[in-house]
Amino acid sequence: MLRINFANLIDRHREDKRALQAIEEWLNRHQDTTVLYPSVLARETSLDAVSLAKALRILVKEGILRQVYKVKTPTGVLTDEEFNDPTEIPEQLPDRLNQYFATAESDVVPVFQMVA
């Protein structure tokens, strides 16, 4: 995992100190993580949705995370394909067993990747 200087980050974003610290602690417990799922962070850090979203946004702005979007397949798992913007999602996508499905009614999920 990339070492992130959270002390500097927190200095620059004092109002989000608690959320950034919670993410730092979570990353320290999951050193091999390359992808952050907001659902997991919400479950395991007990941050509220707004604080978590703000902290993730800061990490994206600082170039530490990259936000992409994935689509839920009809079986409820995420596709392998990722998109920079939800508008790029095509009408059909392959599920994880390579069966194509219509994306019109599928949920779109934000996912955060560690930038190397």
Binding site: V40, Q67, V77, P94, V115
Partner: protein
């Protein structure tokens, strides 16, 4: 760069085929240059701002960008069909010089100097590259670019009058990248880009065989089916956890019951983390169930290959077919082929 139009086309290819990380790695080669910015929030920004600025300032050579396109369009987001050389096919017939002479004639060396050909001709298929691979002098790659127009349904249906429905179709350009990868001494890969139409996949697969002819023909090979490899991967997973895990499996038993196992990625992504799932899949295997797909996650290794975890869907439709959904490094895909060779014995 001759003009802006070409640069726009080149950047569009980078955007379509290269990953964010690959583009960033290219920019990082000129780290410290005041005209090169490495970080970006989006892929659009890193391609159309950071990379464009670096090229405009001549901090990044356009040839390096072409290399990036070649590397990224050849490795990943593909169906790979494996074929094994028949014993009756002499190895010399598949040597680079022999294949080159048959494909390009007596002056093949002169012709190859014009490769790679980045530009495409409309509505046609053309051989765009034929080369040996670094560090693997007996291996080669033949690449074909194709272009066609496809008409597709947009999903919009409208009732304009009673009992009359209008469906909207659009015609679009489709750029096609096909490839043959010879792994001496015995394995040929036909790589075809992914598409929602199975008919197109099969058409492109056949087209690649046509483009290999007359030097390399299908009857010199047999499909290299992965059934034994799948069985070995499953039974030996306990001893190879650091090498690979499974994420999805689809199996049909002797009675025709179809079972699918899938792991949520936010819960680790390892199917065999569940003892019940491991027991079930091993049970299907020992009862001679028919595997209709197995996603293997090849784990990142300290040696640097694979550089990052790589997922490969085995036995996608046919037993000698795999699907690699993500763009990958060439060395990583070669690593997977080598692993499959070991497990499919």
């Amino acid at each position: 760069m001759a003009n802006y139009k070409e640069l726009d086309e080149t950047l569009a290819l980078v955007y379509d085929h290269a990953t964010f990380e690959q583009i960033q790695a290219l920019l990082r080669t000129r780290k410290g240059d005041e005209n090169v910015k490495i970080t970006a929030e989006t892929k659009e920004q890193i391609v159309y701002k950071n990379l464009r600025d670096a090229i405009d300032a001549r901090a990044i050579d356009i040839e390096k960008v072409f290399d990036l396109i070649r590397d990224s369009e050849e490795n990943g987001s593909q169906h790979i069909f494996y074929y094994k050389r028949k014993r009756s096919t002499p190895l010399e017939a598949l040597a680079f010089d022999s294949v080159a002479r048959q494909l390009f004639g007596k002056d093949w060396e002169t012709q190859l100097e014009n490769f790679p050909a980045i530009k495409q001709r409309p509505n046609s298929y053309q051989r765009s590259d034929f080369r040996k691979l670094p560090k693997r002098p007996s291996d080669w790659v033949l690449k074909v670019y194709g272009h066609t127009l496809v008409t597709r349904f947009t999903g919009k249906t409208e009732e304009r009058q009673a009992n009359h429905f209008w469906r909207e179709y659009v015609t679009e350009d489709l750029r096609i990248v096909l490839m043959a990868r010879w792994n001496a001494p015995d394995l040929l890969e036909i790589r075809v880009q992914r598409n929602e139409s199975r008919r197109r996949i099969e058409e492109w697969h056949n087209r690649m065989w046509e483009m290999l002819g007359p030097a390399v023909v299908r009857r010199q090979f047999e499909p290299w089916e992965l059934s034994k490899g799948i069985a070995n991967l499953i039974t030996e997973q306990r001893n190879n956890k650091a090498l690979y895990t499974f994420r999805d499996a689809s199996v049909i038993d002797k009675s025709g019951v179809h079972a699918t196992f899938q792991m949520y990625e936010d819960q680790g992504g390892d199917l065999f983390a569940s003892i019940e799932t491991r027991d079930s899949i091993e049970g299907y295997l020992s009862a001679k169930g028919d595997f209709k797909g197995l996603t293997v996650t090849w784990e990142k290794q300290k040696s640097g290959t694979p550089q990052k975890e790589l997922r490969v869907f085995l036995a996608a439709r046919e037993l000698h077919e795999t699907v690699v959904s993500a763009h990958s490094a060439r060395e990583d895909l070669d690593y997977v082929t080598n692993q499959l060779r070991q497990f499919n014995r």
